[in-house]
Amino acid sequence: MTSNPTPTRDLAVFVIFAAAVLTMPIWLAPIGAAYPDLLQKFAIYGLFATGFNLLFGLTGYLSFGHAAFLGVGSYTAVWGFKLLGMNPVPAAAMAIVTSGLFAWLIGYVSLRRSGIYFSILTLAFAQMSYNLAYSVLTPITNGETGLRVLQSDPRIFDTAAQSGGPLVSTLFGIEMSGYPGFYFCATFLILGFLVAQRIFRSPFGTMLRAVKSNQNRMNYTGLNPRPYTLAVFVISGMYAGLAGALLCITDPLAGAERMQWTASGEVVLMTILGGVGTLLGPILGAGIIKYFENIFSAFNEHILQDIFSFLPEALQGPVVSISGLFVGEGWHLTLGVLFMIIVILLPGGIMEGVGRITSMVKGGSRKKHQHQTAPAE
């Protein structure tokens, strides 16, 4: 896919992608993932990872504090609900603007450094935001308890019928939970993918790749890379803010734990797992991590016994107890193993695996395969 992008090919990828996203409830059913909450998470974290990949994949700047923008987006969206009403559109718009401004502030400072120093700066800012949300800003964020919409909130644009009803986000009478919520998020994921695809193919995207390959050379040619990196940092922050808003649109609650460094680390994992610098990779990575988190963590001994019931009695006990380590609360272990295997064998993530398989199918005679972008350090 990376080898030779043509407009027709991009269009085909986009159409297939959109169709695949919209039909997720059908083709994910056999693996037990086709229920609204998880589908929403797939779409939302897919969007988050796509935005992160714009920064990390194109410029090579590894931000370790992206969860801060997710959190800012969440809090803004819930405040949007509280003040303006339960319509998701103004809440999402507010979240995008606020997280964009916030990203501009952090980016302005952090982008003065690159490499590890940039990562540490963003991490520090995110941890700072997390601790602020947790303690000093409790009046705005409601601390550990989390910010929720209350019946007593002003919600000035809500009609009388809405203000007495359940506190879920509604778009023209459609409640944004369940499948409608998923399609709402999926629409944004598809739009986000489209924008990312356009950026990848634009001259702006080429500039960003130039930043990644050799910033010094870019400086010598008389170009200042900072406006480009700052712009993409803000765009990336807006993606994260939108993802945070969508989290609240499907479930109107914002908690500080969304900003914790583990959440920032998660999006890095998603991107690397799927394939840095590829369009589809981060979305795949997000799907895999969320699937593990929700499905593997729910396996308990009873389910395992059902799965291994075909084994003879003597074998069943040990197999269940050994595999029990990797499911339930041990799902992190499974994810860790998977991550190690992928990083060691396929440094380009799952997308590299996909690429290798396609070239094998095509006869393996393509010699230009080395051309793939090297994974960023």
């Binding site: 998880l38 409790t138 939970s177 399609y183 908690g255 929700n294």
Partner: protein, 448 residues
Amino acid sequence: MTLIRKPLSRRSILRAGAAGGVALATPTIFTSSAWSAGYLNEPTGSTVTLGFNVPQSGPYADEGADELRAYQLAVEHINGEGDGGMLNTFTSKALKGNGVLGKKVEFVTGDTQTKSDAARASAKRMIEKDGAIMITGGSSSGVAIAVQSLCQEAGVIFMAGLTHSNDTTGKDRRANGFRHFFNTEMTGAALAPVLKNAMGEGRKVYHLTADYTWGWSQEGSIQKYTEPFGWDTVAAVRTPVGAGDFSQYLTPVLNSGADVLVLNHYGKDMVNSLTQAVQFGLRDKQVNGKQFEIVVPLFSRLMAQGAGDAIKGIFGSTAWNWSLTDEGSQAFVKSFGQKYGFPPSQAAHTCYCQTLLYADAAERAGTFMPSALGAALEDFEFDGLGNGPTLYRAGDHQCFKDVLVVKGKENPSSQFDLLEVVEVTPRAQVEYPADMLGGELGAYNNGV
């Protein structure tokens, strides 16, 4: 190439609009099937699924593990396996040991991670994917409140597990939510007279408070009931949940002039803060001519076990203790002990009771429909579940029962015999009007 081409033309807008319309119309295909059921997740086969949502990681993981054990035991007893436990002593005899309404009880589990986000995600999974008809669990009030409002929105019953904040059945009460456990208001009312007798009037108090709804609630209740006899608050410091190291919060206590330290902490947090406070030598100090004292308002045997020698002589309150000698408690301790080899904690007790109460209400109501089942629980009077005569009050869906004031035993006879019951505060003393804490139950939501 794309839906919207630049420059924007009427055609491209129409095209995008049509695509958006299709996307918006698609969901009705999926939601239409939901209308056929009388209520959300109505069980149609021979089984009914309950969702147990407990912390399996994080600072309350020990309580969560014990809760899960109790849930499994309750399911066995309801399905007629094992010795029946408290079903034999429960005053309502609707349950026959053949499941609920002739359906075998099955369950699914989830990990709340003691985080609202994770807890809601796992509760949603159980409701949407596994078809759970009821969600129960807790071990953190923040999580319990978040999950309770989720259950209200989704339209299933939430039977709160261990959650002690006033808000759960106070200002954040919901029609679909029910709580068997007591709250900080009751702790304050029960504990204050004992503290007054043991430590005297006119004390200077320093609060260390877990920074979330339960901690705030606990701090407020202790202040409310101890201020009338001259206990003044010197400082109330908020500490993050799961802090691990509390030394930076304990150092200022030494020079604050306070002579009582109230630790509004629970789970591993309490184990850490109490152990460190004792290591700092706080309990050996004399301040203002008085012996320095430490109070832990909410106690549990699991925490006592974790804190070891540090808990000796420390006062606190608890909902239930395995050393109670009434018939119900003994039956429960016996069947729990036989299955797991050690006595249950108060968290296990409340979760076991909640499961039984839910099953019993379904049996009496003749349906799992939240509105009918809830009506069967409202103003339900029962006994035989270890706390004496108990009332499930209709006004706020809160249980009222006796509260235990306990003290860490000086000479424990076994590794489990750590708490000594100082006083059983009668129910009448801890009751309060249903509208005192504010909040609105609203209407039941059946999810359709």
